[in-house]
Chain length 295, copies 4
């Protein structure tokens, strides 16, 4: 059995490097999650357990890939930003794409029981992924603005839709009621018919989830080892706590920090504890506090 006789088929594996020094986004989407959410009785319009699970899966990606410096999640999708200069896997497109999607998927299934202790997973869910390259900072800001705007638009629609359905309309009737309405109409409908002030709803639902690393003083810079290994039978440090203990973003950056954005050959955005935020990322404040994201 000559090894060399068949080896030539490796020549068909072609290189797929991404342009250097360009921002890389990996966005993954749940496959058939409408059916999946029905099969597992997700609460409508938002199931906090499911969103926390998504955030935890994203956090596992952060723990493994130091060059993932930001992520944004909503519903069954998540976008990961790799820092512009990353050389992870020599910037091979397929390797980066599949490694992140696979780890996210794995962490989703792995952590399911902690978030849905009473709901056995009925079948294995999956996600697809794509890689998108952006040359500049403006596009990255606009990319995340696009996703957060999408979160808002979908959530306002879904909140109103399910309020109508829970009040007795069929889904067809609810869809018809909402046809042609704008944002203002939906806000008024929610308030007048259901006494819901949309702006008081949880920020997680209205803003989505943002993952970044919490920059710290060098002296207290904690070890950032993955801590997803679970003790058997132990529930006390399960990932949901980690996911929900995000600090206020205003605590994070100290004055003069910008000066040490780059230390040696590393980069501050790849260190520090991962936090989950639910706040506005369309405006400037979020980005001014974290200048390393767009380096």
């Amino acid at each position: 059995m000559a090894k060399s006789r068949f080896e030539y088929v490796r020549n068909y594996e072609l290189p797929d490097p991404l342009t250097p020094n360009t921002f890389i986004i990996v966005r993954l989407d749940g496959k058939g999650f409408h059916k999946f959410s029905d099969a597992h009785n997700f609460a409508k319009p938002n199931d906090k357990r499911a969103l926390d699970l998504m955030d935890t899966a994203a956090k596992t990606v952060f723990d493994e890939y130091k060059d993932v410096v930001m992520a944004f999640g909503e519903s069954d999708e998540y976008s990961f930003l790799l820092r512009r200069a990353t050389r992870v896997y020599n910037r091979r497109r397929s390797k980066i794409n599949t490694s992140i999607v696979s780890l996210f998927t794995s962490a989703y299934v792995f952590n399911w029981p902690y978030f849905f202790p009473d709901v056995p997973l009925r079948y294995p869910p999956s996600f697809d992924g794509r890689v998108i390259l952006y040359p500049g900072e403006i596009e990255i800001r606009d990319y995340f603005s696009w996703r957060q705007a999408d979160t808002h638009i979908n959530n306002l629609y879904n909140t109103t839709f399910w309020a109508l359905v829970h009040s007795g309309q069929t889904t067809a009737e609810a869809n018809k009621t909402l046809q042609g309405t704008n944002s203002k109409d939906k806000n008024e409908l929610l308030f007048s018919q259901f006494s819901i002030n949309y702006n008081n709803l949880p920020e997680m639902f209205r803003k989505g989830s943002v993952l970044v690393r919490q920059a710290q003083q060098p002296s207290v810079l904690a070890s950032s080892k993955p801590q997803t290994v679970q003790q058997e039978g132990s529930n006390e440090n399960h990932p949901v706590e980690i996911a929900s203990q995000g600090p206020k973003s205003s605590e994070i950056i100290t004055t003069g920090h910008e000066k040490c954005l780059r230390k040696e050959k590393t980069y501050v955005g790849t260190e520090g504890r991962v936090v989950v935020l639910h706040e506005d990322i369309v405006g400037d404040a979020f980005w001014k506090e974290r200048p390393w994201l767009l380096l």
Copy 2:
């Protein structure tokens, strides 16, 4: 919050269609499985539970993607062949690649407890994936020959290596003992020192795992719905049984079958029950029995 203002970032999502009518291979590999196998005490040189789990995860991919017509697995890797004419996902490279890798990963974690009931999964494993295009039948045969030759070479080495280690050598000593040996040397060492006739070892270890669909008479062509949905609390039809009930390949094809290889617009290789075989795929016999694989 103007939706349209940010929508332009979608233009950065570029098309990635694969050349039509060309064989598609998706090969996935475990990430850090040396460490993973140690952390979960896999038997050496082969852990049948782990291999059965891989086969079951591969079977889930078969159940979901009808145009996957063959797969080959060994150790922590699996290769999937999509039929030449497949139009799944409009042949988009990233979509195909990530969807298969994600589903495989998900099924691996999902089915872990059935194969390792006494070994809790300590952390989420992941796989990377790549897409390779082959223009012709010869390359496809040689591709699978390459993987099966690799299985043989690795397994012979590992079997000898671990026999030495189990008999008291350190891993360094065992490596040294094997340095410069050829196949014949290893076979003799196994036989003379350990009374192991290599050719009597399980075919699963020596040949790897092959998944194909079992062609059937049209009259008995079973429904091919995915059956991975688990009944809550039920263990009685868990995937391990499915994975281990592969028929002898000689039962599969009936005379005159070739005439109905193509029925209407479908294709016989996408129907029928999935079976796991451990047999030679370098020679002609396997392929002659299943002419639809190379259509």
Copy 3:
């Protein structure tokens, strides 16, 4: 001026290899040739000088690139087939594409005075090019059938159109006359109104131009050096003669030739004198005489 400081920009030059062992077509098209043909008073519907010039430019590509084994031209476009196994330029897409388009363009301008001695070239014409990969022999035959069918369709239309215009219709009237007509209608119109039997028109116009190498007995295999170098002031061996001395295709292949299709590591289609044919390539005869084209 430190060289190394800027060298890093080379890392942005990414590889673009084509799948091995797959047929490569390079098709080039004239840019703005409607205007170009008007500016140089090309005869309508076909200008033999212009077609001969195209064929000569294509021949220059043949002389330079031995792995170009066939070409087909019509109007202002030309398609080149590189043999399946070619390793020219390590199969780099851009390198192959631009080298062929550039040489064709260069030869077109270079040879212009020989074909249009009384018509000075008024400005430099240009061509674009694309690379298309085909996995199998069927697609290659269908590709060339597609182009030759296109030649026929366009030429029948143009012949009828210009007959009407030359007889006094405006171009708008001629277009209107032809609206909704099929092939039979046009043939009849040509015959009844203009006494033109379409099938008697020159094959060059109806079939396009095919370039292949004329296989020869090894003993008489001529040197195939490029002979486009012109003697100063000499007109006696200018390229138009070369282009027009194509033999009858029936002379080319001798019985038993198939046995020596591959000699050593070479390939018969890359040797022999280049000939220009104007014959049917949709049917089997052309291909059966030249089995090396699809190796």
Copy 4:
């Protein structure tokens, strides 16, 4: 002859769009120009006629493609910068690459007689081309610095080499003499042995050629139609004059110009007369005068 039966082969033409809003460089290189320059007796180390011809060919590209905003040439290579936001040919990689290379080649052959009136072109020269994407302004500046540094290094070497050869050394001896020398050594050798002050040599040879558009007041903004169409028999406005009438760069920009860099949907760098400069582009001055180049 059914058209539709073969049309499917078009599906193998796959899209190849370039990432939006990213700088595009097209660099072309002469194929076999060592031989070509020998065959046409180019002066060594630099032939001004050949360089002027290159510049004129580049200018033709400028005239045709308004979104080419800068070019740099040396020896037998030329690099073209397309403005970041260009949508020419929908940013299709092959289309852009081949169109530019083809037009350059065409203009090179077309204009040959004006620059080499006594040297008939012996055979058609050709160029290859590649597309490189750069995400930011720094890389573009460094790209052109890289090429200009290369010009300097090559020219200093070649000047010294040919001085030695013209003084009687063989080429092998000259190579040996220069082995291991640095810039300072070569400068001294030129001065001490040949009384050549390198810095007094023509800037064209030391700096290469830069093409940009000369920004003008809107009121005097000249029509920028291609003027490469030659009058028959006329030599009085041939391209060499155009190429050599480049203004001093200091004349170009007027105060306050930056305010009108973008007018409506157009862009000032795409208008104005094309000029050929031979000046430093590593420093800041060149770029500060033409801020539109990096928009």
